[in-house]
Symmetry: C2
Amino acid sequence: MSISGKLYFDGAWHQGMGGTYQAVNPATAQLLEPVMTKATKAQVELAVAAAQRDSLAFAKTSAAQRANFLRECATQIEALGDELVDRISAETGYPKARGEGERARTCGQLRMFATSLDNGEFVDARIDTAQPDRKPVPKPDIRFMQQAIGPVAVFSVSNFPLAYSTAGGDSAAALAAGCPVLAKGHNSHPGTGELVASAIIKAIEICKMPKGIFAYLMGDDAEVGATLVKAPAVKAVGFTGSIAGGTALMKMANARPEPIPVFAEMGSINPVVLLPEALKTQAATIAKGFVASLTLGTGQFCVNPGLVIAVDGPELQEFITAVQAELGAVGAGVMLNERICHSYSNGVNHFKQVPGVDVLAQGQAVSDAAGFRAQAYLLGTSGQNFVAQPDIHEEVFGPASMLVKCKSIDEIPQALSVLGGQLTGTVHGTESELGQHVEIIDALTAKAGRLVINGFPTGVEVCPSMVHGGPFPASSDMRFTAVGTAAIQRFQRPVCYQNFPDALLPDALKNSNPLKLNRLVNGAPSDAALT
Amino acid sequence: MSISGKLYFDGAWHQGMGGTYQAVNPATAQLLEPVMTKATKAQVELAVAAAQRDSLAFAKTSAAQRANFLRECATQIEALGDELVDRISAETGYPKARGEGERARTCGQLRMFATSLDNGEFVDARIDTAQPDRKPVPKPDIRFMQQAIGPVAVFSVSNFPLAYSTAGGDSAAALAAGCPVLAKGHNSHPGTGELVASAIIKAIEICKMPKGIFAYLMGDDAEVGATLVKAPAVKAVGFTGSIAGGTALMKMANARPEPIPVFAEMGSINPVVLLPEALKTQAATIAKGFVASLTLGTGQFCVNPGLVIAVDGPELQEFITAVQAELGAVGAGVMLNERICHSYSNGVNHFKQVPGVDVLAQGQAVSDAAGFRAQAYLLGTSGQNFVAQPDIHEEVFGPASMLVKCKSIDEIPQALSVLGGQLTGTVHGTESELGQHVEIIDALTAKAGRLVINGFPTGVEVCPSMVHGGPFPASSDMRFTAVGTAAIQRFQRPVCYQNFPDALLPDALKNSNPLKLNRLVNGAPSDAALT
């Protein structure tokens, strides 16, 4: 198909009436065709109205119907073929393999939610049967299940044009729950977004889903974003991006007459602790893994290892020397857009000027004048200086990391204690020294949603056990994850049914257990029918 | 024991340094002995510091240890004997049977969470095993479980001196999760709170729990409440009360550098729809049940049926006539305190003055000049008038209800559509007419957390299937319930462990499955050990 630059809502493509713009190839700074159009406030409101209109019908579809629909979305995204991955490369500067990998991840994620719908795990069905003779009062029949909350606004993110955008994790989880999705495309990759939207739309047609359950809207945050967050019919927001962006949306959502949650994944510097015994035997190997993790995707990951903490000494020097060699071989990578590229170089320059911060290692300098490129850095400072300077606890989005050199192992929990919430915390150590330093694992656990031993934080596995989230400001609500099957919980609410005639109960709660669910019956798991 | 009027924190009783006051017997308006003391900001901060200090140790206790502790709390509350129920009656005006019932409910709730801890259901343990040979990248071993979030501030509520106060639902859920509880007593029943606190403290001593995990604080909202909500170490707030009170706390919590959730149960008028066939055969029975529900506890329940919606006609007139007779026999009940009593009479007077609102039935007038008493009311208005007057959609806390007389059954969903979120929605109907009016059940489902057929909303069963919550403003976050085993989810967050050596994993996630949990292993439930 050819990219039209149009918006999609209420079952049709529409020319955006809010102005035009063009995407930019960040590798060349050249404009990309075609001209894209932006939505007006009125167009966003039409999209919201269509979503609201079809919300109940969508919520009432069976889990099997939605599973089929999610699988069809994946099939249709794959059917876009090279056109999709080529457009991703043009809009993001990512190599083709990255686009292919992200497509596999995105489609895998849609299918994972389909499997979760098949299992029925997401329903959390519970039944407490009546005891009419109980004293002093009879016990009623009560049955509990999770249900869709209604339309969800999803903000696409710059660095994952597929996996956290139009058909990414938030959209897949919301659609799985039975919530209409109002997707705001990202101005860095609007063509990619439009291609993915066309795939979802085909799936809606093939699966005969209500046409209002998906919209693809492009435009500015103030116009499109704010209108979505303020719309009374919108019941939750999914966002991945900066702390400033996420907290601005949270404020807006909390100021509504009916406040709604913004599930925001925001800043994280993902501390990596290197314990002495691990450095003694593995310094070069860890350095190699660290540089690969740091520079993957030009460091543009929310789980990028932006902080390394270790005890100073000859083993740490060996690690630094190895990083110097590894990083010296890394060319200046393309960044996603001009703004991110400027923020990165400003951030690195700011860090360099903080007293007590040195450059320990660097990647190759930017030699290609065209496009937006970044030189990788490992900066260094003392444990004492790190604790004293809140400025250098901030995230610099891109391939830069700060090595904190502690005087002793006791300084490590202290350095961790000054951090805000994190998506991940990593420790490298032998099993014996890990066991001896449980206080370090405890300090990381208090800060992070995912703990990694002897690995690196990049590479977020999409599986039922994943937690992608953490204490504020890593995410807006640490009770939820943005990746994995539990991500659907953001877009559901429990409802219970008291003394309902069997025929009026949802299938998940009927006596005969027609969906063959594993249910909590009078407090114990059971997949049996009730008599 | 004798009531001392002291506060409890960091393992000891302290004279409050923030002033003194006395509780009032609402049946007589007489002051109750002894003089109670209020906490200062500095005392609250000491309590928070002790809770924070012991937070990790408490989070690391085993589920079995916490189950034992919760059971001991119940035992110690029961051991308070008549002193407790007598003090409840003195401080609230509730008859002794109500105090005994609420004690049974409170102790039952503590034991329910103990059972839930025994089952391990609350952990939501998940394991995805490694696939080192997976292409293109190896799959790591990832394991997921729910963990305690840290100290929780719990605000006691006026109308449930036991079940939603010091050792009530919020405290039980937080302690079950492994979170220290900072309980703010209610000025209406501070002596009851102190007695319950003494029981928890005995349980802490007997079970050798860390002493900072529980505090009992009394004082004013501005001093004690605000200090708790703003304290950086506090990670969540449990509140039950008015919309104004709940939203004020939400604003305060959202304005923190690290926003935290306020789980607030607020206003609800709990619509009850009476369908024509049910009225035709059951008008008198429904009227009897309705009046009993309306006047239970002098109407001081968040699930009080404050709104009845039905089609006008002779059957509805029969219902009204029956309500008149039933209500005419109900004496003016004691209300919890002067403020609530005044708010109630102001609210009823305001409703009476709204154009198009009539008094349809009333209870006996207040004849006893002493204390704070309330006359029960059934007011009435047309469907059209109800939709047009947002003023009469507000909750009047007490034994008053509004009957909305619709011209036809089609007006019912319209009347429901103007309501805010509700804790409950009820329909009376024959099975056949319920099946014919699914749109009414759908309209209620969109608004409420609990749906009741042919019953009344009062009487919140404490069981795994209960949902006590609903769309805003019934509760601040409709994703959670305040009653039932799922209430623990408010005070937990998921953490995942990647590539952890077995010895360093929490017991819930170890290969040998030492806790015999039912875990989600590679997407399928299993209680087997891993090899």
